[in-house]
Symmetry: C2
Subunit: 245 residues, 2 copies
Amino acid sequence: MRKLMLMVQYDGTDYAGFQIQPHAPTVQEELERALTGVLGEPTKVRAASRTDAGAHALGQIVTFETSNPIPAGNLVAALNERLPVAVNVVEGSEAEAQFDPRYDAVRKLYSYRILNRASGSPFMARYAWHVADPLDGEAMQCAADLLCGRHDFSAFCAAGGSATNMMRELYRFDVDDAGQVVEMHIEGDGFLYKMARNMVGTVVEVGLGRMRATTAGEVLAGRDRSRAGPTAPSCGLCLVRVSYE
Amino acid sequence: MRKLMLMVQYDGTDYAGFQIQPHAPTVQEELERALTGVLGEPTKVRAASRTDAGAHALGQIVTFETSNPIPAGNLVAALNERLPVAVNVVEGSEAEAQFDPRYDAVRKLYSYRILNRASGSPFMARYAWHVADPLDGEAMQCAADLLCGRHDFSAFCAAGGSATNMMRELYRFDVDDAGQVVEMHIEGDGFLYKMARNMVGTVVEVGLGRMRATTAGEVLAGRDRSRAGPTAPSCGLCLVRVSYE
């Protein structure tokens, strides 16, 4: 058996997340259907990250095993012919037999986009959280800075996750406030369940003036989920890059 | 009765065009449903342009009459609360009783977007025509230049239109080739049925090297639809602005 790796992009709006579900459309199901069709054998994939329902990816990494000798380059075009436009394979390559896209990931980069103006936009509704009240970008960056570093992120972990170790290192949390569009870049060695969206929700509370920036640091230190802000909607979230050694 | 004017944006992907249809979702239906709800009386709208199924708008203009005294500013927020995210009212204002959004329009500006690279993009699939083979932007601009001016545009008018006078003036047809994304701006005093998409289809034939730029001029002069290129897909088309005196 060969092991192959694919980099995959998707618009997650119409999917119930990456991971396969019994009664809802998922990205995994689309990929496995296309792979099974191209390879002529039932094929299962394993992903770097189980993205949430409605969240997007520019650089999701998946692996699968196959006995089919098709060159990785030919596979990409053949898969894209079978995939819906919402899911696209960017590249394919051979992987080491022991490579695991999830456990071998050393850092993940997410982006989170907010449309910050009175009226929404039909063209950004799928890809950005519409926040109508004005945001203070500088206060948001102050709050984001307090979350960076190696911490117990319990305060930002939603119920339902499988992690037992809550320690994660956040390498950066940049808030780029370009007027109507606020784009955040959040990179860490790993993320707890809904951690990125919970941090964004808290930082936005600060941006709206409902919470002080220093309070975001206290919420983190207190490890108490009930003091954090609401979970930001998944539409603004995008898995940009997964890095390996 | 007062007459009011609205500027409306929409993502047309999931609509069968602007104009109301018996068994398909339309933008007009969404607007009339929202207006009827807010104003408390059955309300019909009239638009500057009947955009095609799947085509978008940043600056569609519609008018309607009402006996309701609601200030135009309040109306915008009330409508957006009722409208789906795919349709958004940007602004509202009082209009002269005799104002007609269609017949009083003196120019219309459309944009047309192409994603020109080997692989498609899930994020642009709704908003751009994916052309995988490389396009020659300079040749496209040469062909586009030959279409500008005052001409009989029969060669680019699809069957099914209601126009009898085929003379139109095309003020500009700019082809901005920014690498992977080619964006066109097409402005004229009016457009025949599918004229913008038929011109784009022909210009793309030139960009692909299947037709010479000078031939585009000959197609125009010959007034023969069968010699023009295919109709470009509606997803790339957007009504950007309608101008009045």
